[in-house]
C-alpha cells in the first residue's frame, strides 16, 4: 500500500503529461492509470508491475489523433478512443493465442532504436511547450530543428505569460536533472515529478496570498473538466472501416504489446521474490483494461517500467500495490481538482522532456556502438526511419536491415532460408549429474530465438544448464543479450547457465562474432590507463596495509548476489578493489543499477566484504526507521534485543532466525556498534557486507571503514566472554 502511494505520486504527473503529449485531454491519462491499476491488479499475471499510460504510445497516439481528426483534435481523440477499444480487443486475443512471445521477434538494437526515436519524439514536442511555446507542431524532425529557434525567440519575447511559463519549465527540468544528485533522504521520500507539481502549484498560492495576479493565463495551465465523473468522453466508432483507422489500431496494438512485454520481462528481473510473470494472462488483463479505458475516454493501458521499478524499490510484493496506486489517483483527482488546474503545462512538459531524453541519451548511442558496428547501423536505421516516417515502418526497417546484415556477415542466404522453419534446439536432462543440456544447431538469431527461449523457459531456474553452441554457426546480438538475462535470472534463483562451444567462433575470421565478444568485454575498458587522484590514493592505501590493489573492472560479482541488499539490484561489475593478502577482506567500488529503461539509475558505491571463518546467521542491520520498508522481505522479522532499548531505538535489525541472531549480538558487539559511526551491515551466513553510503567513498572514509570492518569481524568471529 505504501508503495502504491509512492507510485501514484509519480503516476499523477506522468498520466497528465503523457495525455497532454498525445494531444488528448489530460484526464484521459489518469483514467488509463486508474482502469489499468484496478483491472490488471485483479486479473493480471504479474506480481509487481504497474499498469497505466505508457510513453511509448505517445507518438502513436499523437499520430492517430492528428491523422484521424484531420485538424479537429477533439474529434480525433474520439476516433482514437475507438481505435484504443479495438486494439484492446486485439491484445486480449493475443493473450488468448498465447502470443506473449511477440516481443521476442524483434532485434534488440532495433528496439533500442525505436525507443530512442520515441524519446526524441517526446522531447521534440515537449521542449517547445516547456519554454512556453504551446503552438509548435509539425514533424518530429521539424520540431527538433526548431528547438534552437525556439530558445532564441524566447529572449525576444516580452509577454510575461510566456516568460513565466518558460521559467517554470526550465526550473522543473533542473529539478528532474538534479533530483538524483541530492542525497537527502527526506527530500528523496517524494519523487521528483511530485516535487515539481507541489512547487508549481504552491507558487500559484503564493501569488494569491500576496495578491499578485497569477502571471499565467489558463492556456498555459492544465485543463480538467469541472466534474470528472460526468464529463467522460465516449469513443466514436464511425471511422472503423477506414484504412487510417485500421493502421492506427495495428500501430497501437503493436507498440502497446511490445512495450508491455518488454516491461514485464524487465520488472521480473527486479522482483525480490524472483517470481515469473504469466505474460499471456497479463496481456489479456491489459487488453481488457485498454478496452474499458477507451470506452471511458482513457488512453491505452500498458505495463510501465519506470513506475514498476519505483514500486519494487518501495517494497511492493504483490499486485495490491497496483490497485492502491489506482485508488490514490482517484483520491487525488477528486480531492485536489482545484489544485490540479493550477499545474502549468510547462512543468509537465519538463517532466516529459526529461523522460524523453532518458530514452535517447548519447550514452545509449555509445552503448549500442560498443556492441559492434553493425548494431549501430541497425540502431540508426530504425531511429531515422521512425523519425522520418512512423513507428511501424521504422521497426520493420530495423528488422529488415538486421536480417540483411546477418546475411552479409554469413555470406549465406540459404543458411537462414533452409533452416528457418526447422527446429534447431535439443534439450534433455543428462542422466548422470542431472544437468540440463541444451544444444543449438545451424544458426540462432532473433528469427528463431523463440525456439531456444521455449526450451529455456521450461527449465526450473534453480537447475544447472549447459548451453552448447558448438553445432551452431551463427549467434547474433539479440540472442547473446537475451541469454545474458537468462543467466542472471538463473544465477539469482540458485541455478546457472554455462555457455560452451562459442570459443571457436571468436577465432574464426570468416564468421566475425564481434556481436558475441563485445557484450561481456565492452564493459572491461582499461580504466587503469587513466588513474585519477582517488585511484592513486587507493594505491598508496593499499601499500600501507600491504594489500593488493586492482583497478581493473571485474565482472565477477556473483559472490554479492546472496546478500539481501542485492536481491533487487543488478551488479554489472566491480572495480578499484583492495584485497588483503589472504583474500578474506576485500574493499571495492561497485556499480549497480536500479530499475531499467527509463528509470534506470546507475548507482556506484564502495563496499567492504569480509569473509568469515565461522558461519553466522543471516541478518541485516540498518538505521532504525529510515530504510526499514526496503527490507519488508519475505521471512524477515524485525528483531529486538532484550535489555538494549538504546540499541533497539537506533538500529533496525532483521533476519529470519531471531534466536540465533540474538546470540550473535553479544554485549561487546552491541557496545561496539553503539559507539561507532553508523554503517549498513549485512550477513549472508558466511560473509559480512559493509557499506556506508550509496555513493563512492573517499579514501579517508575507506580507511575508516576498513578499520571498522576489521574490528567488527573480530568481535563477530570470536565473541569474548561477556563482561
Amino acid at each position: 500500500m505504501f508503495s502504491g502511494f509512492v507510485v501514484s505520486l509519480i503516476a499523477l504527473p506522468l498520466g497528465l503529461g503523457l495525455a497532454l503529449a498525445s494531444e488528448a485531454p489530460p484526464i484521459s491519462g489518469i483514467i488509463a492509470a486508474v482502469v489499468g491499476g484496478v483491472v490488471v491488479a485483479i486479473l493480471g499475471g504479474s506480481n509487481v508491475t504497474i499498469a497505466g499510460p505508457g510513453n511509448g504510445l505517445v507518438i502513436v497516439l499523437l499520430g492517430a489523433i492528428t491523422t484521424l481528426g484531420e485538424g479537429d483534435l477533439y474529434q480525433g481523440y474520439l476516433f482514437t478512443l475507438a481505435a484504443i477499444v479495438v486494439s484492446g480487443i486485439l491484445m486480449l486475443l493475443l493473450g488468448f493465442l498465447k502470443m506473449g512471445r511477440l516481443a521476442d521477434f524483434f532485434p534488440a538494437s532495433a528496439i533500442e532504436g525505436m525507443l530512442a526515436a520515441i524519446g526524441l519524439g517526446i522531447l521534440a514536442k515537449q521542449f517547445h511547450i516547456m519554454i512556453g511555446n504551446n503552438g509548435a507542431s509539425g514533424s518530429i524532425v521539424g520540431l527538433l530543428g526548431g528547438i534552437p529557434n525556439g530558445i532564441f525567440s524566447l529572449f525576444q519575447n516580452v509577454e510575461t505569460s510566456i516568460l513565466v511559463a518558460a521559467a517554470v519549465g526550465i526550473l522543473s527540468l533542473l529539478i528532474m536533472i538534479f533530483y538524483s544528485k541530492i542525497r537527502n533522504p527526506y527530500f528523496q521520500l517524494i519523487p521528483a515529478p511530485m516535487w515539481i507539481l507541489i512547487l508549481s502549484v504552491g507558487f500559484s498560492y503564493v501569488c494569491t496570498w500576496t495578491n499578485v495576479p497569477y502571471p499565467m493565463d489558463s492556456k498555459f495551465l492544465v485543463n480538467i473538466p469541472d466534474n470528472v465523473m460526468t464529463n467522460l468522453a465516449f469513443p466514436d466508432f464511425s471511422k472503423i472501416l477506414q484504412t487510417e483507422f485500421i493502421l492506427a489500431v495495428f500501430a497501437i496494438t503493436l507498440i502497446a504489446s511490445i512495450e508491455s512485454l518488454l516491461s514485464i520481462k524487465a520488472v521480473d528481473k527486479l522482483d525480490p521474490q524472483n517470481r515469473r510473470s504469466n505474460v499471456n494472462r497479463d496481456l489479456k488483463a491489459l487488453g481488457l483494461a485498454t478496452s474499458l479505458s477507451g470506452l471511458l475516454g482513457g488512453l491505452n493501458v500498458v505495463t510501465v517500467i519506470a513506475r514498476s521499478s519505483v514500486n519494487v524499490n518501495n517494497g511492493a510484493t504483490n499486485r495490491s500495490a497496483n490497485f492502491f496506486h489506482a485508488f490514490f489517483l482517484v483520491v487525488f483527482v477528486l480531492l485536489f481538482q482545484e489544485q490540479l488546474r493550477k499545474i502549468p503545462l510547462a512543468a509537465l512538459a519538463a517532466i516529459l522532456v526529461y523522460t524523453g531524453y532518458k530514452l535517447a541519451t548519447p550514452k545509449t548511442f555509445v552503448k549500442v556502438a560498443k556492441i559492434g558496428k553493425e548494431q549501430i547501423v541497425i540502431f540508426l536505421v530504425t531511429l531515422l526511419t521512425t523519425l522520418f516516417t512512423n513507428l511501424i515502418t521504422g521497426i520493420s526497417a530495423g528488422i529488415l536491415i538486421t536480417f540483411l546484415i546477418h546475411i552479409l556477415i554469413n555470406k549465406s542466404f540459404s543458411l537462414f532460408l533452409s533452416h528457418l522453419t526447422k527446429p534447431n534446439v535439443l534439450l534433455f536432462k543428462e542422466q548422470d549429474g542431472g544437468n540440463y543440456y541444451v544444444s543449438v544447431k545451424h544458426f540462432c538469431s532473433f528469427l528463431n530465438f523463440y525456439r531456444l527461449k521455449n526450451n529455456l523457459d521450461i527449465i526450473p531456474e534453480n537447475e544447472n544448464v549447459v548451453l552448447d553452441f558448438s553445432l551452431c554457426s551463427f549467434v547474433d546480438h539479440t540472442v547473446m543479450d537475451g541469454l545474458e538475462n537468462y543467466t542472471e535470472t538463473f544465477a539469482k534463483k540458485g541455478g546457472s547457465i554455462e555457455i560452451i562451444g562459442l570459443d571457436k567462433h571468436g577465432a574464426d575470421s570468416t564468421h566475425p562474432f564481434a556481436i558475441r565478444k563485445i557484450i561481456p568485454l565492452a564493459k572491461l575498458n582499461p580504466i587503469e590507463r587513466y588513474f585519477t587522484k582517488r585511484q592513486d590514493l587507493l594505491k598508496t592505501t593499499a601499500g600501507e596495509f600491504q594489500w593488493a590493489y586492482e583497478p581493473q573492472k571485474s565482472t565477477k560479482t556473483k559472490f554479492l548476489r546472496n546478500f539481501v541488499f542485492f536481491h533487487t539490484r543488478q551488479i554489472p561489475y566491480l572495480y578499484n578493489s583492495l584485497k588483503a593478502e589472504d583474500k578474506k577482506i576485500k574493499v571495492f567500488d561497485v556499480e549497480f543499477t536500479e530499475g531499467a529503461f527509463i528509470a534506470r539509475e546507475v548507482v556506484k558505491t564502495t563496499i567492504m566484504y569480509v569473509h568469515l571463518e565461522a558461519k553466522i546467521p543471516v541478518f541485516t542491520l540498518d538505521k532504525e526507521g529510515l530504510l526499514d520498508f526496503l527490507y519488508g522481505l519475505a521471512g524477515f522479522k524485525n528483531i529486538t534485543l532484550d535489555n538494549h532499548p538504546d540499541f533497539n531505538r537506533r538500529f533496525f535489525l532483521s533476519g529470519e532466525n531471531p534466536g540465533e541472531i540474538q546470540s550473535v549480538f553479544t554485549q561487546d558487539l552491541i557496545l561496539f556498534l553503539e559507539s561507532n559511526p553508523y554503517y549498513h551491515i549485512e550477513s549472508n551466513g558466511e560473509a559480512l557486507l559493509i557499506l556506508k553510503k550509496e555513493r563512492l567513498l573517499s579514501v579517508q572514509e575507506i580507511k575508516a571503514m576498513i578499520y571498522f570492518g576489521k574490528q567488527l569481524s573480530q568481535i563477530v568471529q570470536d565473541p569474548a566472554p561477556v563482561l
Partner: protein, 296 residues
Amino acid sequence: MCYLSSLQIRETQTEIDPFKTILFGFAFSPSLRVNVLETTRIAYYFQAKLILFHVGEKNNEKVDIINSILREVEYNDPVEIQWQNGSPYDIILNTCTKLSIDLLILGAMQHENMLQFYVGSIARKLTRKVCCSVLLLIKPSAERVPCKNVVVNGLDAPDTPLAITNAFYVSNALGAQQLTIVEEILQKEIDVTVEDDRSLKKANLMKERLKQREESRVRKIIDEMPASLTRNIVIKTQSIFGKRGYSIGHYAEVVRADLLVMNAPVKTGILDRIFPHDIEYILSDLPTDLLIIRPQ
C-alpha cells in the same frame, strides 16, 4: 560403418537373423571403392548374402573396375553382381520385392540442399518407398572404424520392439558397447503450458511421471528380448521432450553416435516435406549412418 572384430560376436547371433539378403545399389562414383569395401564388411558381419546391383549398361570397362575392387575385399564370402537398364528408382524398388531383399544399403550425402529436399534424391526417395529395411551410409570407410555407440528410437509405436531388437542385433554384430534408447515424448503430452512458476512446477512433475512411464515401457521391451542379445551391451535410456523425429537426430549428433536406428515412417508424401515431421528431419540432415527398420 564400424566394427569390432572378434569372432565370438558371430557366435552370439543364433537367436535371430533379420538380414539374410543385402542389396547394395552402386553407381560409378568416386566413392564406389569405399562403399563396396564397407558393404562387403557389413554383409560378412551380418552373415548375409550380398548382391551388388547396378542400374545401367554392363560393359567390360565397368566390370573390370568392380572386379578390381572386389579383389581388395578381405572377406571371401561370395558376392553376386547384377546389371539392369532403366530408371534407377523403379528398378531397385522392383528388385527388392522380386529378390525378397532384407536390407537395402545406399550411399547418401549428409545434407540435402533445398532442391533435393523438396524434389528428393534417389536415395531418399527409395528410403521412403522401398519394401525392406534401409541402411544409409554417410561416412563409409575403407578401413575398419570401431563402433561404440548405437542410438535407437523408443517411440510408443507398434514397430518399436522390432526396431529395438534389430538395434541389439546390429550392436552385437558390429561389436558396439553401448546402446542408447531414446524416448521422444511429445510436448503436447505434458498438457501444461509453462507460463509462470506454478505451471512450470506442474509441467516438471508431469514430465517426471511421463519419463517413468516411458522408461518402464522400454524396460519391458528389453526384458522380453533373449538375454543373449542384451547381455554384452551397456543399455542406456534417455527421455527427450521435444519435436518428435527431430530431437533424436540432434541427440545422435550431440553424443556422436555411430549408428542411428529408426522405425520406418508410416507414410510420406510431398506435404510431409513441406511440413516436415518425424523421419523427414533426419533424412534432410543425416546426423550419422542411419538404419531404418521396416517390418516385412
